[in-house]
């Protein structure tokens, strides 16, 4: 008999995502599906709005990394007003970069300290009641405090550059609407010694240590869990270095061969297509040259460190070299190493924040540029979770006629399905009863990808799950709900 197992991150009832697993007659997992049950209709309802509203409207699709949407839309509208990246005033460019690195820093810190650190500090088998940020606070109060202060630092950088911590308005088509005074820069650089840029660099390095210690003691799990070969895609700068604000698109395969050779992202439609499947509102992007079956790729911290040749800040570069050495310079295909990569990027972001704050261009007076108007704009940025594409067309009346978005979590759609499949295969096979271990395995696999849906849902605690085993007629054979004590 063929059975279906349904795993519902609790959020399913709240309308976010759920997993079904199909079990064949031998009790083996034959397929898995991660259903995204959200649909907003953004592509249509944004039509008819003036293009300059895009940077403030679109970010309201996701309050977890709104700066990414704000800036991707701003970059697209830069093209529409004829500024592009070429003409953007230096002050605007640096302010936006600072905003973006602030966002990386806070988002990655949130992910590590609030969501993942309980696993690393207590182990994945620890009681659920302990495995959240309050549990960490009870036993490792310094570390929990660090996490909270790191997020706060990033959020304050965002507030200083964008005007608000969430859904700011700093970036405008062709520029920025404010600069940063030398006093403000000084406060972030040399203010309260427990809350300045160099302290953040130190804490970011400490977080890498926490991961490496865990890795040393749990090598089999960290290296083997939900590991699978895949392609990887990210933006790199002109010299192949890591850049999250601007650059060209590169993809490598599992062996490290370049399969997308530093293309101009404005040509993305030539290279990337999206498949639609009936069982999910989220589309499935792939590289057209490799086709739907083989063309899917991962994005995010792991993919970025697999694609780039170097990191342009000294301490992160040192950490990057160790990361690369571990796989002999080949791409790293281990899902759990996403955490390692994310922390190296956290360090990179902290170093970049310090470097940018020292730059007098942040206090410059020329804030925007206007050139010859165009009727189409494409903006691409690396969001904390991976490559983010915004594409708009407008009419003579300046109103939007077409909007297309490919967000990070969408690029990772197939990889997350793949990771869930591997995790399920390893834990579920041959069983008919759902165990706590199964819930954990799926949760940890999805969490490694930091999709907005899961990141958000356990921002303050555990990802509660419900697993159902169903027979072919939909009769429920077994149910288990993750208990929170």
């Amino acid at each position: 008999m063929i059975k279906n197992i349904t795993i519902e991150p609790l959020t399913r009832v709240e309308g976010h995502g759920k997993v079904t697993l199909q079990v064949d007659e031998h009790g083996n997992i034959s397929s898995s599906r991660l259903h995204i049950v959200e649909f907003r209709g953004f592509e249509k309802f944004i039509q008819g709005r003036p293009y300059w509203e895009a940077p403030v409207l679109v970010q309201r699709l996701c309050g977890i990394c709104p700066v990414s949407h704000h800036l991707a839309a701003a970059k697209a509208t830069d093209e529409i007003v004829g500024a592009g990246v070429e003409h953007l005033p230096e002050t605007a460019l640096k302010m936006r970069q600072l905003m973006h690195y602030g966002q990386f820093f806070q988002s990655h810190a949130l992910h590590f300290f609030h969501l993942s650190s309980p696993d690393f500090l207590f182990g994945v088998d620890a009681p659920v009641s302990k495995r959240n940020v309050l549990g960490v606070a009870a036993e490792f109060s310094d570390l929990a405090r660090q996490g909270i202060m790191m997020r706060k630092f990033g959020q304050e950088i965002i507030e200083a550059t964008a005007g608000k911590k969430i859904h700011g308005t700093g970036a405008i088509p062709g520029g920025i609407n404010k600069n940063l005074s030398p006093e403000q820069r000084k406060a972030f650089l040399h203010g309260d010694p427990e809350f300045n840029a160099s302290r953040m660099i130190e804490w970011a390095e400490g977080a890498i240590e926490v991961f490496l210690n865990y890795h040393r003691d749990n090598r089999n799990f960290v290296d083997g869990f939900a590991s699978f070969p895949s392609n990887h895609m990210s933006m790199v700068n002109e010299d192949g270095g890591l850049d999250i604000y601007h650059g060209r698109l590169r993809a490598v395969n599992a062996e490290g061969e370049k399969i997308l050779k530093d293309i101009d992202y404005r040509d993305y439609l030539q290279y990337i297509g999206e498949e639609v499947r009936a069982w999910s509102y989220m589309k499935f992007p792939y590289l057209k040259s490799l086709g739907k079956e083989k063309g899917w790729y991962r994005v995010g911290p792991l993919a970025r460190l697999n694609c780039c040749d170097y990191i342009p800040t000294p301490r992160a570069q040192e950490a990057f070299e160790k990361f690369r050495e571990y796989t002999n310079g080949k791409p790293n295909n281990m899902s759990m190493h996403m955490h390692w990569a994310r922390l190296i990027e956290t360090l990179f972001a902290a170093e970049m924040i310090e470097r940018l704050l020292q730059d007098d261009a942040l206090s410059g007076e020329t804030l925007s540029y206007q050139g010859t108007k165009k009727f189409e704009g494409i903006g691409v940025i690396e969001a904390p979770r991976g490559t983010l594409i915004h594409h708009y067309r407008i009419g003579d009346d300046d109103l939007i006629t077409m909007a297309n978005l490919i967000v990070s979590t969408t690029h990772n759609n197939q990889p997350m399905n793949e990771a869930v499949f591997r995790a399920a295969q390893a834990t579920f096979n041959g069983r008919t009863i759902v165990t706590e271990g199964m819930l954990n395995a799926v949760e940890v696999a999805v969490r490694a990808y930091d999709p907005c849906l899961s990141c958000a849902t356990h921002a303050l605690g555990q990802m509660p799950l419900m697993v159902e085993i169903q027979d072919a007629d939909g009769n429920i054979l077994d149910t288990r709900i993750r208990e929170l004590e």
């Binding site: 609790l10 209709g41 996701c62 309050g63 639609v276 009936a278 958000a456």
Partner: protein, 190 residues
């Protein structure tokens, strides 16, 4: 819950995100260090994102982010109403529908066709013209509804998102039974 029976008077808080962007939840995290203080004041194990199907004891304050755009949102909202003494609409989306309600002028079919058939990156990639539709996907409502059009709401906290200081002020007032300070500087409608 067994571990809390000795602290009878701690209010229980539950939160949920319906058709929202999670920005309101993130704004709650922006109370920073005070999150530890909040954990002292309230029971958090019925935590934000706990399985609502399991609300098994009375909740004092239910915080709702987002309006209702599909059948599940409505179910969850009703479930919260049934189990919470006070229900609070947090943010523009819960209060007025917010950005998702921009689709209210359009038919849902137009929106689906634009995303899955007309999008430039789908051209040549969706030969069968698939529009997602599956038993596992909830039914989309014809329009996006603010929460108070579905159930009674007791309090409203405006903002997109409400500022962290405002959330802190209102929450602690509700918990301690005092009146909010009504700080003009953090009370905003955007």
């Amino acid at each position: 819950m067994k571990n809390s029976s000795h602290i009878k008077s701690k209010p229980v808080i539950a939160t949920t995100s319906l058709a929202g962007c999670f920005g309101c939840h993130m704004s709650l995290l922006d109370i920073d260090e005070r999150i530890l203080q909040l954990a002292e004041l309230v029971e958090f194990d019925k935590s934000p994102i706990n399985d609502i199907k399991k609300i098994s004891r009375p909740v004092d304050f239910g915080l709702i982010e987002g309006g209702c755009c599909n059948s599940e949102n409505v179910e969850v909202l009703r479930h919260f109403r049934d189990n919470c003494k006070y229900l609070v609409s947090v943010g523009e989306c819960a209060m007025m529908g917010g950005l998702p309600a921009m689709r209210n002028q359009l038919s849902i079919r137009e929106c689906l066709e634009e995303a899955y058939l007309n999008s430039p990156s789908v051209q040549g990639c969706n030969e069968e013209g698939i529009i997602p539709s599956d038993d596992e996907l909830p039914i989309l409502l014809n329009k996006v509804y603010p929460c108070h059009e579905i159930v009674k709401i007791d309090y409203f906290i405006p903002g997109c998102p409400p500022r962290a200081d405002l959330l802190w002020d209102v929450l602690t007032s509700l918990i301690l039974g005092t009146s909010p300070k009504d700080q003009y500087s953090v009370f905003k409608y955007d």
